[in-house]
Symmetry: C2
Subunit: 221 residues, 2 copies
Amino acid sequence: MADSTDMQCQPAGIRNCGPPEAGRSAEGAGFEPARELTPPTRFPGVRTRPDYAIPPRGHSVEAVNDLDFSTAMGRALAEAQSALEHGDVPVGAVLLDASGTTVAADHNRREEHDDPTAHAEMLVISRRARDLGDWRLTGHTLVVTLEPCPMCAGAAVWARLDRIVYGAPDPKAGGVWSLYNIPQDRRLNHRCEVVAGVREEECSSLLRDFFEGRRRGDADR
Amino acid sequence: MADSTDMQCQPAGIRNCGPPEAGRSAEGAGFEPARELTPPTRFPGVRTRPDYAIPPRGHSVEAVNDLDFSTAMGRALAEAQSALEHGDVPVGAVLLDASGTTVAADHNRREEHDDPTAHAEMLVISRRARDLGDWRLTGHTLVVTLEPCPMCAGAAVWARLDRIVYGAPDPKAGGVWSLYNIPQDRRLNHRCEVVAGVREEECSSLLRDFFEGRRRGDADR
């Protein structure tokens, strides 16, 4: 396991599934260049990019690579499709246990349940924890079609998930890379490894089609 | 309503209930001095302190002052006491509607429900939205004994709450001032006014006693 001093310089040990474009400016996106930190290495995790993700305690890089996130993302995409049936933004999530088995799957139900907290990620985390009778979901991996928001990223940390795998970035509200990096904030009491960009194009196009369709629908009215 | 250009310099128009100590260094707490921002005024809300809180749209400063947060905090404190009965960290929350009437009250049930998302704030927001049949809780005020974490702060923004009122700061995991200022991040699509430090000493001592008792209990074993 990498210690905090070499985390920033460590090569991307895990599979790089196409993180958000590296050329994008860090300034103005909620990140500050490391030279401005005081002291410079106090919270390195806050600025850690997904492509420098931290292997969770007790898991080797090889074990991470053995998990097939693409198949799990396919299941999450199918869940996202189901959200369309009740007019919800198409976001789907699955939760894998330490062996990679899917133990929970759900999709965004905000409109269906009239509940602002009913994001796909919240529903799978909550259901699995209640099923297990333990709020500590150590060893679990969250696979979700859209980058989790601050609420869901916070829930992943509180649930002590090992890993968050997402498809499309969310430049407007992402809490894992785009606006904040909550799961790798070393000031919190747990960190999750992050893998970004798994089947990104499929995840993005599902959302793009939904919002374009809604705009067309609004124009017709 | 103040516009974005004068928000930073505006005097603390709302009642100052004793925000976190002003002398505390901004650096190393997730905030950066404004001079380092690029461009300097792009996201002023991210660095807004609770004592510079933004009056929500359609609500005058006077209307805010007319609400009696101290009474509501008393109710939240009583809820926090109830959490002790099932061994949960004593945090309580109430939700007030636009007229100041309590419409939901609950406390932390993480241990009781074996659910990492069952924080007091999540429970009241979720219940009220489902009761109303609308996830938009515009006009509502969340009153909570402890500064909300990033998960709960995110939920408050998604629920479009007008205001968050809290008692004790949470320097280890606060998402409203201590580590992040999510409810006043102007990159998100909604902002909440924030009032900090209402009955702070009572809220803090309840938590302090709980953790001291737990440490003593551990030592006895």
